[in-house]
């Protein structure tokens, strides 16, 4: 993790929450808020100019839903880390967002301080993966395996990790099971996401998505 100041952008339709987050980010060392928008459309107009490092994207937005917007953001700013913010951890939408390019997700019931910390750690891998989402990812890769593709597949360790996550393990307890550190786990997750993103651009993924994997 770099010690640089993280340039944060927020897409959140609830005004009070949005302004609150912005204030907190600005008040926390290591963060600067480069943009706070109330809808995906608004954000898309401004995001490239703002050039944030991390974008928190509310999953439920008026207009274009966050999961869809994630794809466009990822396309426009491939280097930007997209974190979905969700109240209820809706697995379908989260998974869709992940496939569209999001790095992870955070639940809003996380205390704001932890939220910011998680954002710092985010960079794909920091976010916990709910069992359901882990299971989905696993299934997705399994189905891809059947298709001939040049895209990378999961390593056995990654698959095992996903399996553990699907059973509800946290990164910590999963690390214990795998006898690796939490950092290794996070690296694995990052790698998994990368592969997911790569795949998510391919037609096979689109097809698998459409075929009702989700």
């Amino acid at each position: 993790m770099t010690e640089q100041t993280i340039r944060l952008a927020i897409v959140e339709d609830d005004r009070a929450s949005r302004e609150g987050l912005r204030y907190l980010a600005e008040a926390t060392a290591g963060f600067t808020c480069v943009g706070a928008w109330g809808s995906a459309e608004e954000a898309l107009r401004a995001v490239e100019r703002a050039a944030p490092d991390v974008l928190t994207l509310d999953i439920s937005l008026p207009g274009m839903p966050g999961s869809e917007a994630a794809a466009i953001f990822h396309e426009r700013c491939p280097e930007m880390a997209i974190l979905m913010l969700t109240v209820y951890e809706e697995e379908e939408k989260v998974f869709e967002s992940l496939c569209n390019g999001a790095c992870g997700y955070l639940v809003k019931s996380t205390p704001p301080a932890e939220l910011l910390e998680a954002i710092r750690r985010a960079r794909c891998g920091g976010a916990p993966m709910s069992p359901g989402i882990a299971a989905k990812v696993l299934r997705m890769f399994r189905s891809l395996r059947q298709e001939p593709s040049e895209h990378p597949a999961l390593t056995p360790q990654e698959r095992r990790l996903l399996g553990l996550l699907a059973e509800g393990h946290t990164y910590e307890s999963a690390g214990r099971e795998l006898e690796v550190t939490v950092n290794t786990v996070r690296n694995h997750i990052r790698s998994i996401y990368d592969k997911l993103h790569v795949h998510s651009k391919s037609a096979a993924v689109a097809k698998a998505l459409r075929a009702g994997l989700i």
Binding site: A16, S17, V87, S109, P111, P112, L116, E172
Partner: protein, 1069 residues
């Protein structure tokens, strides 16, 4: 000289014979030898006005292609089906009162020639509608009333030319119409023909009137036209030209013409009949030079030959029967030209009256249009009957047999007769003094022995005459010997005689006290009495026969049957009371397969297949139940084909032993009387029957077993009203719709059978009610009433002799409509109304429900979203506020009461949010399995316990698949999860433990154990613990689960929850 056959003399000979009739010997002149075998009387039936014929003056007859007989009379057209007449007169649309000629075209159209035009019988559509007789009136059409049965046309311009006398359709299909004023040819469509006059080519002096009388067509299409003025001929494709055919060379009017199958043209001229051998054959015809009348041999090959002379009365027409004989319809009655000469009928008298036309039907009968006797039918294949006029002196026939020489002999009580060339020669046997009468027995009477000697039974003994060639010689010669009781006869009155295979004569006698049996031995010339077992001596023997093994069978008056074994003369006794007999035995007959047939007086006929077999023989029964007309059977005969004939009191029953089919012959078929006493087959194969009133002869080959005729629907009545049907006969009627309460249906049908009506029966069935054919009955109508609504088809077929049935049944299809309130459309309307109503009501309710639900959902969703957002907002804002209090450090680290209050606020909000999330999760039906709950628990444990550094482990013996297949209902899931969550959070908050284990097992019950190695707590003490415990207990109660808490200070805590498995709570998928 005219070449003339001696018809006149023949006639006078016949007349002469009649006049000189009397008792005593009658000799028939030798001239009779020239006769062909049409002596005797063929069955003749007569139909008159009394039977329904419109008039007794019948002008023409024709059998239509469908089988109906069409009759032209002076009072209109009539159709005969064998039972009744359907008449068409002026009321039915006939333009004139009488019909002159009839013709059926090859298409089956019936054309009728009247004095007021040419008419065609209008066809009827299958459902009974009539062809329109109005709209397309062509130039020639006569307008008829709308419901006329005919479409009529005027032919020429003059009224006389519409007086149509003769019709002909040539082989090309053209219609020729002969009228009182010329010959016309029709062209154009059948619906609207036009007529063109055809010149007959008569040279000068042209006759004033061209009245056509007849038209004939030769093998090559040459047309001959007979007119009142003369004869004309038209070669194929050519024009008519007059032909002078009379020997005198003058014109001679012609009444009738016939082209026969040998190519001969018969010309019935006013002056007599000529026969022109080759005129119809297609060979070139040379018209003879008008020379004088030809003598035999002259011009015989090239010109017409006169057959009859003047004064015999005009000949009206000719007819050729299927055998090639040409019949003449003459003013003097019916004649037939066969072979050498002409034979005319004078008996019965109807046949000697003027006959205008002759036609044949497909049964081989001859139909005669008589001028005053109505419609006559002569059954050419019927039985020829013989009576007194044929030389049989007395007509109560008591025996028929053949002499040694092969003469057919017929005897009665007083006379004997011999059949010679169509007549009988009769005599009375000369009896010696002392013998008064011949025997009163019957059937097995006079016998001619092997040496030609005649044995005659009498009341006073047995007479033996010397060798005589013919039976009538018995009238000349006295017997050479008389056998009486002195010679060994058991009694004087000889009842039966039977010559056995050894030439011995068996004699059965009869007297009031005894019967008795004796045998004359040819070796010894003596009579020996044969004793019968008691009590059979007392009964008279009524029938004797020998079976194939030579055993003698005796039938008795009391019905007993005895078999005398040839081997040893012992007797087997059967009955009476035995099944073999019933009533006295009329005859015992051995057929060509050596089966024994027994005719009984009250039990029909029995057949014994193996009479020579020892033991009790088995019999096959033929009674009225099998189809016999009567169970009183007098005699039995067999024809060369093996068909059996039983003479009964009600005619003859004819049995085919192979099929068991029985048909009947009666007086309609030529039997002179219904009581048939004796039967015999002669060596020529003819069957002779003796009745109470004469004898009859049947040629079994002539009576063909024809297939059952087609059946036509004659009449349909619906609730009393008659439907119109086509006069040509309907085979299939459909489309009837009967109302529910007017559904009585009367159907009349008939199969066309003239004559053999006795053997025609019908079977019918009603499809839709019962698929089976009913039993054969004679009835020709059937009524249905009160049928349930539905579709029905009535089918009927004729059952002929030998069980043959009509190939295609006639049918009537109809529908009985249900009452209005049961009609389909009514029901459908009501049903659809109901459905619409119900749907409407349902929709209303559903939409209301949906509306309510939608509102509820809307509320829930809004609440859900708003709550989540709001709580998140509170969480953030409280952190903001806290920050603003203390701007340093990370959020959440400010100090002070306010800060901590704010933190509490945020925490509460987040807690609510979490709880909400849990709620959402717990309600998710996709996550109702145990595996999901374990995963969730693991997550929670990881967050909670891992967050405070307690090492934890969740273990389960349940495999993932198993866990995924165990489903928990929402309440259970929630309660259990929250219970376990409480336990875990207690551990995290209060236990101070280092490690915690959660073990989950799913066997008979769902068992969860939460164990920590912490400090434990006092179950009864402390508020927090109390609250938490209370909650847990509450949840456990809600789960119906057992909750065991083992804890003690310092000892750690074990919490065990056991949830019973039940379908409601925990079920396996």
């Amino acid at each position: 000289m005219e070449k003339e056959l001696p018809i006149a003399r023949l006639r006078s000979a016949w007349a002469g014979t009649r006049r000189r009739r009397g008792l005593g010997t009658v000799a028939v002149p030798a001239l009779a030898l020239a006769l062909t075998a049409h002596a005797g009387r063929l069955p003749l039936q007569r139909h008159t006005i009394a039977d329904g014929l419109p008039s007794d003056r019948v002008v023409d007859v024709l059998q239509g292609s469908r089988g109906y007989l069409w009759i032209a009379t002076s009072e209109g057209l009539s159709r005969f089906d064998g039972y009744s007449f359907l008449n068409f007169g002026q009321d039915e649309g006939l333009p004139a009162i009488g019909v002159n000629d009839l013709m059926e075209t090859r298409d089956g159209e019936l054309w009728v020639a009247t004095d007021e035009g040419l008419c065609r019988l209008a066809a009827a559509d299958p459902d009974g509608a009539r062809e329109s007789t109005r709209d397309r009136a062509g130039p020639a059409e006569i307008t008829r009333p709308h419901d006329s049965a005919f479409v009529c046309f005027a032919v020429g311009r003059s009224p006389a030319s519409s007086s149509v006398l003769v019709l002909h359709q040539d082989r090309a299909g053209a219609l020729w119409v002969g009228t009182r004023d010329g010959l016309y040819r029709a062209s154009g469509p059948a619906g609207a023909p036009s007529f063109h006059r055809v010149d007959l080519g008569f040279e000068a002096p042209r006759p004033a009137r061209m009245e056509l009388r007849d038209i004939a067509e030769g093998a090559d299409g040459t047309l001959w036209a007979a007119t009142v003025e003369g004869l004309a001929r038209r070669p194929p494709g050519g024009r008519f030209a007059e032909v002078l055919f009379a020997p005198s060379g003058e014109r001679s009017g012609v009444n009738g013409l016939l082209c026969d199958s040998q190519g001969r043209l018969w010309i019935a001229a006013h002056t007599g009949v000529s026969m022109w051998r080759t005129a119809c054959s297609g060979r070139p015809v040379t018209v003879p030079a008008p020379a004088g009348p030809s003598s035999p041999g002259h011009g015989a090959e090239t010109g017409p030959v006169w057959i009859d002379g003047k004064g015999k009365g005009p000949v009206f027409g000719f007819f050729e029967d299927p055998k090639g004989k040409v019949w003449w319809a003459t003013e003097q009655g019916l004649c037939v030209f066969a072979g050498p000469g002409l034979v005319c009928f004078d008996d019965p008298p109807e046949l000697a009256r003027p006959i205008h036309a002759i036609a044949g039907d497909d049964a081989g009968d001859l139909w005669l249009a008589s001028e005053g006797e109505g419609l006559l039918r002569l059954d050419l294949n019927g039985m020829v009957s013989f009576g007194v006029r044929d030389g049989l002196l007395a007509t109560r026939v008591n025996a028929i047999f053949e002499s040694r020489r092969g003469d057919l002999c017929v005897t009665s009580r007083e006379t004997v007769s011999r059949y010679v060339d169509g007549r009988f020669v009769s005599a009375r046997p000369r009896l010696p003094d002392g013998i008064g009468e011949l025997s009163w027995g019957w059937n097995q009477m006079i016998v001619q022995g092997p040496r030609g000697r005649w044995w005659v039974p009498t009341e006073g003994g047995l007479l033996r005459y010397p060798t005589l060639p013919a039976i009538e010689d018995l009238g000349r010669v006295l017997p050479e010997r008389v056998f009486t009781t002195d010679d060994g006869l058991p009694a004087h009155s000889v009842f039966r005689l039977f010559l056995d295979s050894r030439g011995d004569l068996w004699i059965a006698t009869i007297s009031p006290s005894i019967g008795g049996l004796a045998r004359w031995s040819s070796a010894t010339d003596t009579i020996e009495r044969i004793p019968l077992p008691e009590p059979y001596e007392r009964y008279a023997v009524t029938a004797l026969a020998q079976d194939g093994a030579g055993n003698l069978w005796l039938g008795f008056y009391n019905g007993a049957l005895l078999r005398r074994r040839a081997r040893d003369g012992t007797f087997d006794v059967f009955g009476p009371g035995d099944q073999l007999t019933a009533g006295f035995v009329g005859q015992l007959y051995r057929d060509r397969r050596n089966r024994l047939w027994i005719a009984t007086a009250s039990g029909g006929v029995r057949r014994v297949d193996r009479p020579a077999q020892p033991g009790h023989p088995e019999a096959v029964f033929y009674t009225t139940r099998q189809g016999l007309a009567s169970n009183r059977v007098h005699c039995i005969a067999e024809d060369p084909a093996g068909t059996m004939y039983f003479g009964t009191a009600r005619g003859i029953d004819r049995l085919d032993p192979q099929t068991g089919a029985i048909d009947h012959l009666g007086t309609d078929d030529g039997l002179p009387n219904s009581e048939v006493l004796v039967a015999h087959r002669d060596r020529k194969g003819f069957l002779w029957f003796g009745t109470l009133n004469g004898a009859a002869r049947l040629d079994p080959r002539a009576t063909l077993r024809k297939p059952a005729p087609p059946v036509f629907i004659q009449m349909i009545g619906v609730a009393g009203a008659r439907l119109r049907l086509s006069p040509r006969g309907e085979r299939q009627v459909s489309g009837l719709r009967l109302g529910h309460n007017r559904s009585s249906l009367l159907i009349g049908f008939t199969g066309i059978s003239f004559g053999r009506k006795g053997s025609l029966r019908y079977q019918h069935r009603l499809m839709g009610l019962d698929e089976r054919w009913g039993p054969p009955t004679r009835g020709r109508t059937v009524t249905y009433g009160g049928l349930a609504p539905g579709r029905y088809t009535f089918e009927v077929r004729a059952v002929g002799a030998a069980g043959t049935v009509s190939p295609v049944p006639a049918s009537v299809s109809f529908v009985v409509l249900p009452p209005l309130w049961r009609r389909w459309w009514f029901l459908a309307a009501v049903a659809s109304l109901l459905v619409v109503g119900l749907v409407g009501v349902h929709r209303l309710r559903a939409s209301r429900l949906v509306a309510v639900e939608r509102v509820r959902t809307q509320i829930a969703t809004d609440l859900h979203d708003d709550l989540g957002t709001a709580l998140a907002r509170i969480s953030i804002l409280s952190a903001v506020a806290e920050r603003q209090l203390d701007g340093s450090g990370l959020p959440g680290t400010a100090s002070g009461t306010t800060a901590s209050v704010l933190r509490e606020i945020g925490g509460t909000a987040r807690g609510l949010l979490d709880a909400n999330r849990e709620l959402v999760w717990s309600l998710d039906p996709g996550r109702d399995d145990l595996h999901s709950m374990i995963a969730r628990l693991r997550r929670y444990a990881g967050d909670t316990l891992g967050g405070v550094g307690i090492s934890w482990e969740i273990m389960t013996t349940v495999s993932q698949e198993q866990a995924q297949s165990i489903h928990l209902d929402p309440e259970t899931r929630r309660n259990l999860y929250l219970l376990l969550k409480e336990a875990i959070s207690n551990i995290a908050r209060h236990s101070g433990a280092r490690s915690a284990t959660i073990r989950i097992e799913a066997g008979q019950e769902l068992d969860v154990l939460v164990h920590d190695d912490g400090t434990g707590f006092d179950p009864d003490g402390g508020e927090d613990a109390g609250d938490g415990l209370r909650n847990m207990r509450r949840r456990a109660r809600a789960l119906d689960a057992r909750l065991r808490i083992e804890t003690a200070p310092g000892k750690g805590t074990r919490i065990r929850v056991t949830v019973p498995r039940s379908d409601r709570r925990v079920r396996k998928a």
